[in-house]
């Protein structure tokens, strides 16, 4: 664990709520495209922030100067800023569930050199170039980011935290009948370069499967648009959990008028659906984005959002828990030192059941199997859209022709009510970032599910 300045000294005996967070990020990135190095960089940013709550309003200040003088300045500024917009004299007592935790797994992984990252990409590049000459353009990227955090709060929380994450991503393009086709994928999670290197075989498998999917995609047909029976693969299910449901139950969005505001303890999904936002452990393993104490110092707990089809909980921060009179869940997260904590998801997943994928495919007479998504967005009224960049038609219980890029859409709760089969093939996907105000790492998970939703096409 790296050395931090003693920030706890400044939090003693303050007559109002105050939190101080020192944070740094150290990232390395290398990219090659068709044997040329197009990216070769390192970023080191660090800073400190203070946030106070006075008269029902927040004041925040941050600085990239890591010194005691700078800290004193930003504490004064944070308090002054809250006073600037506060119209009431009486303070509001925020709910509190403080905890202390040391989590430093960064030291468990070996540090490698930038040259090792680049040499590995060139090794993969040579493999792709030799084996798949049809690929017209190959882009490979390795990115490693280690975040460090030191948090103290006036209600007694203390956190020291470091988390390394490493990802390899690839993008291939081919040309068919004069038209370009592209497909991307990524691989990684908690760890550093050495973690990726230990799983070389899986990376070669990913290269092979991405190429095959791209070739099939180039032979794809337009989906027939309309309301269809769909089999969503784990990656798409995970995104449904995060984008379409998760955001509607974030308590700041609920306060802002989300459709989920009226649904507490009501049926919002098929009884086959249980949806959980895990804090740090799931299925006995560490989650891809483990949060033990959130950035307000709240002890993080697992939140069962939907239990057997019934909406049970929202995701909260200190203020939203106070405003809605709901439990604290530890979902307040900030990306960088200069960002304030806001309500965010952590590891959001639909839980698996017992159905086998082959049985789910054979149960569909006329529909689509949607495997990969490159993202999507959701509305506070529950409407969602995902991009689908790999999928197949299902005809008479069998996988049929591949389809071109399309979208799937619908009202999240209506789609979840239509779920009648849930698979046993659970997978996490942690390569994405959630873009609500500040981009932040999250993971999404789920099994295959059978449901009805609208698919785009021609």
């Amino acid at each position: 664990m790296r050395e931090f300045i003693d920030i706890s000294y400044f939090i003693r005996n303050v007559p109002y709520y105050l939190e101080i967070r020192e944070q740094s990020l150290h990232s390395s990135s290398v990219s090659i495209m068709n044997n040329d190095v197009i990216g070769n960089s390192e970023i080191k940013i660090s800073g400190i922030s203070a946030r106070s709550f006075l008269g029902g309003k927040w004041g925040f200040a941050s600085s990239c100067q890591l010194s005691e003088n700078s800290l004193k300045t930003i504490i004064d500024k944070a308090i002054g800023n809250a006073k600037l917009i506060s119209r009431q004299m009486n303070n509001i007592n925020l709910p509190s569930n403080p905890a202390s935790f040391d989590f430093d797994i960064s030291k468990n992984y070996r540090d490698d050199k930038q040259s090792d990252f680049l040499n590995f990409l060139f090794e993969l590049e040579a493999y792709i170039k030799n084996k798949y000459p049809l690929i017209k353009s190959r882009t490979l990227n390795f990115h490693q980011a280690i975040s460090y955090k030191n948090l103290v709060t006036s209600d007694g929380s203390y956190l020291l935290y470091s988390l390394p994450r490493a990802f390899l991503s690839l993008n291939f393009s081919i040309e068919k009948n004069g038209e370009p086709y592209e497909l991307s994928d990524s691989f990684g999670g908690i760890g550093k370069f050495c973690t990726i290197l230990l799983q070389k075989e899986k990376i070669y498998e990913l290269i092979d499967s991405t190429y095959l999917s791209l070739i099939k995609k180039s032979e794809g047909v337009y989906a027939e648009p309309g309301l269809k029976e769909l089999l969503l693969g784990p990656e798409v299910t995970g995104n449904l959990a995060h984008e379409a449901i998760g955001h509607t139950v974030e308590a700041d969005i609920v306060l802002g008028g989300s459709i989920a505001k009226d649904f507490m303890n009501k049926i919002v999904a098929s009884e086959q659906i249980t949806l959980v936002d895990f804090s740090n452990k799931a299925f006995s393993d560490l989650c891809p984005v483990p949060i033990f104490i959130d950035d307000e110092g709240t002890s993080a707990v697992d939140v069962t959002i939907i239990e057997n089809g019934i909406l049970k909980s929202y995701l909260s921060s200190k203020q939203t828990a106070h405003d809605l009179n709901i439990p604290l869940t530890g979902n307040a997260r900030a990306n960088l030192f200069c960002d304030e904590p806001i309500v965010r998801m952590r590891n959001t997943a639909i839980l698996p059941k017992e159905n086998k994928l082959e049985d789910m495919i054979s149960s569909i007479d006329d529909g689509y199997y949607l495997i990969k998504t490159s993202g999507g967005e959701a509305d506070t009224n529950g409407e969602f859209m995902f991009e689908i960049d790999c999928g197949y038609k299902i005809k008479n219980g069998k996988i049929s022709s591949p389809i071109k890029d399309t979208i799937v859409l619908g009202n999240a709760f209506e789609v979840l009510k239509s779920v009648d089969m849930v698979g046993d093939d659970f997978k996490w996907d942690s390569s994405g970032y959630c873009g609500k105000k500040q981009p932040i790492s999250v993971s999404v998970g789920g099994p295959s599910i059978r449901c009805k939703a609208i698919i785009g096409g021609r």
Binding site: M33, W58, P225, G257, E387
Partner: protein
């Protein structure tokens, strides 16, 4: 904002430009101290074996007022700085970015940068921009009044609450960012800029008993707070349209109709063009327009100018990230592609000319008709407020949802749409532009009209 050649940037030159600024003596000391450190950094880079280098330094202060659920929720101040160092040894290149500029940290970072560069591979296209002289870009009239920011946001909330009772402002923020920048290179190019601007963004919907509209958003940037926020560009009409969206209907039939991009959604159409003629697609060879210079790529009604010095834009960029002075130029003239948007690196990789700027400030030329007349002349189609859909394929194909959109039939806006999918091809839409409105919206970075084109497939369930 002004720029002109001078022999050397010194304290007096900057002071003259900052004539109206409060605390200018304090600021100037910081500015000159930063340049001393940067010059020292260039010297140290050379000493350890980095043959050529460029430094991009930014130091600023950001003030932000946040609104959550119709109420002021937070006031924030951030003191930020960053330095990005690009180094070259022969034709090998590396970059390091840090935000702590004490000398020991810089020395450590330069040593890391040296290793990064050495690990790289020779690429003849990697080269430091040639000497560009020295230039000074200073926004003379920059004013920040903290109380005025709070007043404008409070006023906006009061007006919204009174005039639009069903309106629910989910989140909003008013920001002011002021900063100074240095760009220095080992071959003595020296650029300095000082400026700042306000930006306002909001996400909102309308709620009436059990009805909830789709969310709408707005974003504008301005040089000052002279006008109330509610008067900024088309804020009022976006709010009014969202109220109508409390009662959306799905489209009943499949139609092949016109699409009218609003200034808020026309980015989708132009973005496809810009992506296709920029470095990534051009170098990879996946651009549909890779051999289209001086050829018709759009209807002859379309003219696009990239002008980084347009007086009503904010954050004017006098120089590019790779160290060239920018100039205004016509990107598309009467539908003919007049330039690519290639950087120095992209230019060397493709053998095509570097652009005079890289397209961050865009003006689309307006035509004569008002948007109401264009709608009257539309037989069937939609007016697209926002596109929520897949990335546009390199060949131009797209599919997505028409959000914040309305159906047009026989020259009249019929009703707001829900669950409506549109599919088409952006390259074909560029060629089939039928009309461009006389009204334009300035979001601070672009000046965009309504653009009517077609045909696209529009359908519901």
């Amino acid at each position: 904002m002004s720029g002109r050649n001078i022999n050397r940037i010194n304290k007096k030159k900057i002071l003259n430009r900052l004539e109206t600024l409060e605390n200018k003596e304090v600021i100037i000391e910081d500015i000159m101290r930063s340049r001393d450190i940067l010059n020292w950094t260039l010297e140290q880079a050379k000493k350890i074996g980095i043959e050529k280098s460029s430094l991009s330094f930014n130091k600023g202060e950001k003030e932000e007022i946040n609104v959550l659920t119709n109420e002021l929720s937070m006031y924030s101040t951030s003191f930020l700085s960053s330095i990005s160092i690009t180094g070259y040894i022969g034709n090998k290149k590396g970059i390091i970015a840090i935000n702590n500029i004490d000398k020991q940290n810089i020395l450590d970072s330069l040593n890391t940068l040296l290793l990064i560069i050495k690990t790289s591979k020779e690429d003849p296209a990697y080269e430091l921009a040639p000497y560009q002289g020295t230039e000074l870009f200073v926004d003379k009239n920059l004013q920040f009044i903290q109380d005025h920011m709070i007043y404008r946001v409070s006023e906006f909330l009061d007006i919204c609450s009174k005039d639009y009772p069903s309106l629910n402002i989910e989140q909003a923020s008013l920001n002011f960012y002021r900063s100074f920048d240095w760009f220095l290179t080992s071959n003595k190019t020296e650029f300095f800029s000082y400026g700042g601007f306000y930006s306002f963004d909001a996400l909102f919907s309308n709620r009436l008993s059990d009805r909830l509209s789709s969310s709408s958003s707005l974003f504008f940037a301005k040089k000052d707070l002279t006008l109330p926020l509610i008067e900024w560009e088309n804020t009022k009409s976006i709010i009014k349209e969202n109220i109508l969206e409390l009662y959306p209907q799905p489209i009943e039939k499949k139609i092949n109709g016109s699409i009218i991009f609003t200034p808020n959604s026309v980015d989708e159409l132009l973005g496809f063009l810009f992506d296709s003629i920029s470095d990534s697609a051009m170098i990879r060879g996946t651009s549909l327009f890779k051999d289209s210079l001086n050829k018709q790529i759009a209807s002859n009604k379309l003219t696009i100018v990239c002008d980084p010095f347009y007086q009503d834009f904010v954050d004017n960029a006098g120089y590019t990230e790779d160290g060239f002075l920018t100039k205004s130029f016509c990107l598309v003239e009467n539908g003919i592609l007049k330039s690519y948007l290639l950087s120095f690196y992209g230019s060397k990789k493709t053998g095509k000319e570097r652009a005079l700027n890289y397209g961050s400030k865009v003006i689309v030329k307006q035509l004569d008709k008002k948007i109401d007349q264009i709608i009257k002349e539309t037989k069937s189609g939609i007016i697209l407020g926002r596109f929520s859909g897949s990335d546009i394929s390199p060949n131009g194909d797209f599919t997505g949802i028409a959000k914040n959109s309305f159906l047009i039939e026989d020259g009249t806006i019929k009703y707001p749409l829900c669950e409506t999918i549109i599919s088409g091809n952006m390259a074909e839409l560029l060629l089939s532009i039928e009309d461009i409105s006389s009204e334009r919206i300035n979001d601070g970075y672009s000046l965009l009209p309504y653009i009517k084109t077609g045909k696209v497939l529009i359908h519901g369930r």
